[in-house]
Amino acid sequence: MGKGKTATLFKELGRNKTLLLMIMPFVIHLIIFRYVPIWGWIMAFQDYNPLKGVSGSEFVGLKHFKALFSEPLFLKVIRNTLAISTIKLVLGTSTSLFLAILLNETRNKYFKSITQTITSLPHFISWVVTASLVREMLSTDGGMVNEFLMFIKVIDKPILWLGVQKYFWWLMGWTNVWKEIGWGAIIYLAAMTGIDSQLYEAAKIDGASRIQRIIHVTIPGIKATFLILLIMNIGYMLNAGYEQMFLLKSGLTQDVAQVFELFAIEWGLNKLRYSFAAASGIFASVVSIILITVTNKISHKLGETALF
């Protein structure tokens, strides 16, 4: 920056003193609450000692990263996180898309808006409340799911759904569908209303059936929205949604329910291995950035929409 430029900047800032004054407290807030913790990443490369702080602790290089990658529990945690995220992503996206298509094909305005309102309601309920509802529905003591399955004679005695390891990931996927299907559909539905109705007319004249119109008009019409949401979600693969896991796991499912964020909380705050937990936090951020960049590149290469 040249001298003249700096001078102009100060002059312009002087002219906008009030604006500067209005924003300064928040810039300080931003630096303290969002940037100071990023600086705290340093502790992952130290044997962090809370008494000495970041400036006084000894640097140990990649020691904690090596420890992290050779920790057997860590590999299990990665497996659980990726499995749950993938299931939630695939089930969540496809069901929301399916609901959006059905709503788009619904001509009755009232039925459409009532369905939309009710199905997106659970999105605003906390996971604590949702977990309470889910436990009640899946309980062996008169829960709706067991009662219904016994009524249609699929099972002959109640199943402890939340206590069986092999069901756990899928239950997380489906409870997430229950909570988010309607909310997820809103954005697809918005994209569908943007499709030119002449395309439907033309397809109809060409003799396309309703299913064919969905496949050849509706789906291509929302492809861009779909891909952008997909790229964004893939970036969050290491966030499996720890609230849900924490609230629905039990001693029986601990092994398949332990996800990345819970692992960091447990090792950092309960077992007091701060540097180790900070290293796992950095790992998560780096993986997210790599995932989002790679998927974005692939989408770009394929000649499709990209996020950036």
């Binding site: 312009e12 800032l13 002219r15 906008n16 009030t18 604006l19 500067l20 209005m22 924003i23 928040f26 810039v27 931003l30 303290i32 609450f33 969002r34 940037y35 100071v36 913790p37 990023i38 600086w39 705290g40 502790m43 059905l102 709503l103 619904t106 369905t115 009710i118 199905t119 309601l121 605003f124 309920i125 906390s126 996971w127 604590v128 409340v129 977990a131 309470s132 509802l133 889910v134 009640e136 003591d141 008169g142 709706m144 299907i181 809103i186 954005i187 918005a190 059936s209 609230l247 039990s250 960091a264 909380i265 950092g268 705050l269 937990a277 900070a278 936090g281 950095i282 997210s288 950035i289």
Partner: protein, 296 residues
């Protein structure tokens, strides 16, 4: 198959699926509502579906006598009001400054905020920061860290940029300063988007329990409703009834409750405020979502 019959089949399947969805969304709420209003010993016999069989408000009466529930309720309301009002006001002020073309630091400061949407320090450094700022076991942790949010700022800024520039010019000619323009012209005009963002913030505050769990677990007077519900869920899960069991016993002498009926009533108290507000404001939520999606 003719066009007409295939349409009928398609519509029937569609109707069936949508109605099925409506039932599985609503049934859990209605079922728990019925359980919460049913006499506890009678509930234990099973078979409660949509309506209470033996009506009783004992669960709610027992709950409202629990001091931690009252404290939790007050704190949840307080943090929801304080948290969303301060967040929306601060973000509006930031958004206004960042929308002014004459402000030279507009671009770099915007980037400073946007960066935090993608990269964060993680829990452990954050926890230490809160400790050194004295925010552990402190009510202020509920609203101070969330004072500014990059997403909210972007949405409000997009809205402000869409307002006619001439309004600001005219006010300037009249001799109004920037702060006055913000307070008297921009804020009133931005009410639709501010309301949307306030609602988003309010939902987050009302539903939050993790910050109570991590940062304020030791101070009973700082507890929140969702945190209390979480504790009740996990205590019955590990079959250690604890305090709730004691409360249920106390209750059973004076009218009859069980952990199950208490849990049902508590779930309703934690869910109903949002459910009551939601249908009226759905319109705004959708606007807010699409607004956020456009220029993110």
């Amino acid at each position: 198959m003719t066009e007409k019959t295939s349409n009928i089949i398609f519509d029937s399947i569609k109707l069936f699926v949508l109605i099925f969805l409506l039932i599985i969304t609503l049934y859990p709420f209605l079922n728990l509502l019925a359980i919460s209003f049913n006499e506890a010993q009678d509930t234990a016999k099973g078979g409660i579906t949509l309506f209470p069989r033996v009506f009783s408000t004992a669960s709610y009466r027992t709950l409202f006598r629990l001091p931690e529930l009252f404290t939790g309720f007050v704190n949840s309301v307080l943090r929801t009001v304080i948290g969303s009002v301060t967040q929306v006001f601060s973000c509006a002020m930031i958004a206004y400054v960042l929308s002014r073309k004459s402000f030279p630091l507009r671009k770099p400061l915007s980037l400073l905020w946007i960066f935090t949407m993608y990269v964060s320090g993680g829990l452990i450094p954050y926890y230490f920061l809160m400790r050194s700022l004295g925010l552990l076991n402190n009510f202020h942790i509920y609203w101070i860290p969330g004072l500014t949010s990059a997403f909210t700022i972007i949405v409000i800024r997009t809205y402000i940029i869409g307002l006619p520039e001439s309004l600001i010019e005219a006010a300037k000619v009249e001799g109004a300063g920037e702060f006055r323009i913000f307070m008297q012209i921009i804020l009133p005009l931005a009410i639709p988007v501010l309301a949307t963002m306030a609602l988003f913030a309010a939902v987050d505050h009302w539903n939050s329990w993790v910050d109570t769990w991590l940062f304020n677990p030791k101070k009973k007077e700082l507890t929140t409703l969702q945190y209390e519900l979480m504790k009740k869920l996990s205590s019955t899960n590990s079959s250690k009834a604890g305090k709730l069991g004691a409360a249920a016993k106390r209750g059973s002498r004076s009218g009859g409750t069980t952990p199950k009926s208490i849990r049902a009533a508590m779930t309703m108290i934690a869910a109903v405020p949002i459910m009551l507000v939601y249908p009226f404001l759905q319109k705004y939520f959708v606007t807010g979502l699409t607004l956020g999606g456009v220029k993110e």
